[in-house]
Symmetry: C2
Subunit: 219 residues, 2 copies
DNA sequence: AAAATTATATATCGATCGATGCAAAAATCT
DNA sequence: AGATTTTTGCATCGATCGATATATAATTTT
């Protein structure tokens, strides 16, 4: 008579001592992700997390193991649930130019919170984890940051193969450039830049693309 | 007989008028700046600071007041001693285009530590102070970040006044773009990007300038 | 319904955080 | 010289950090 598939959440929170009901792990992870995203790893304390999740610290440790492990899971959650805001149209675009433009324009929207009720800036880009004291998490976020470059460069290679851009193009320089612009957007977004402002940045940035992918000017 | 006039700030070795065994305040501030720069505000503890400075915590508090105040002084020290690496040629350039190009190219050198033995990335750009818990310092670094935009935009306005670029140019978009590229460079530099890589980014970025400052294509 | 299981809340752990009180020690002033 | 001044090193403060042991209560099994 009880199916109890491990997640039958009730939004009501039981206040009694003891065991009110198994908390919703997914919802708690979502809260943790938002908190880490908005405040960063070090600035987010266990107290902050347990308060936002509505659970006690033993439940947190039983469910996620440690603060580090929770952050790692939050990173996965972030990439799984929010990357589409930035990369969705990129992957659907028929040409590299449209893909890059979609990536930058959609980044402008996503990073400023115009597409959903989310913190400003990219959780991965703005994470300062790894500067000291957390080498494992540092490698994690660094590799996450590197994936932006990888995706862009891979798309550029495809564009070369398809003849969209000249084979003589310096794909590393171009991909680093795109990565640089998108990274910079996160910082501006965190400081309060608005979506239209960043969209204009994206448009200006694309002018370099047009120029750079046409080495011999042939108007 | 004694040269200490008891109320003029010692110009040279910063020898306190009391006990000469007093530590070198300037050198200590330099160490603190480097530490904050490399590790960030929250990740740098008082213990880290006192160890690097070679003093005890009471001396630190007597000399600087608090961790916050020390960070504020470190920011001043940073701007006073290292901004020239990035802005020196910008201010000397005869045209806005050369100024912007110098700014981006010199940023590539400075942010990757090619001009001196300094941490990678910009202390101001990468500072996550203000995300939570330190509103005063947050405003400080935010305004410091805003100064990049202000300087660039002011130079663009001058360029319009001098007829270097069309009056119809969207200076906000262009200045935000330059700011975005330079901010992004800091993140790449922190992740280990090399100087030549960022210089190529600067060159690609300048292609947008050439295109954007010529609204009616007249190649 | 009683027993066994499970996950919670309370309370607290040692370590470290930023910040200070105190007395010893060194240099200037008288 | 001695008295005063001032910084330092040692020790420690209360608060908070991340993490855990214990006890209790709701759920599951028998």
């Amino acid at each position: 008579m009880q199916k109890s598939d491990a997640l039958s959440p009730s939004p009501e929170k039981a206040r009694g001592r003891g065991r009110p009901r198994a908390f919703d792990r997914e919802a708690a992870l979502a809260e943790a992700t938002r908190l880490f995203w908005a405040k960063g790893y070090e600035a987010t304390s266990i107290s902050d997390l347990t308060e936002a999740m509505g659970i006690g610290s033993p439940s947190l440790y039983a469910a996620f193991g440690s603060k580090d492990a929770l952050y790692a899971e939050a990173l996965d959650y972030y990439r799984e649930h929010f990357d589409a805001f930035v990369w969705g149209n990129f992957h659907k675009a028929p040409s590299a130019r449209e893909a890059i433009e979609a990536f930058l324009v959609d980044s402008a929207s996503a990073l400023t919170g115009y597409v959903a009720d989310i913190p400003c800036g990219c959780m991965v880009t703005l994470s300062s984890v790894g500067s000291e004291g957390h080498p494992e998490l540092g490698n994690l976020v660094r590799s996450a940051r590197a994936s932006t470059f990888d995706r862009v460069k891979q798309r550029l290679e495809q564009a070369v193969a398809e003849g969209e851009i000249p084979a003589s193009t310096d794909l590393n320089a171009l991909a680093r450039y795109v990565q640089t612009v998108q990274n910079g957007m996160s910082i501006l977004a965190r400081d309060g830049a608005e979506c239209p402002e960043l969209k204009s940045v994206a448009e200006v940035a694309m002018l370099s693309w047009d120029r750079y992918t046409r080495p011999t000017q042939a108007g």
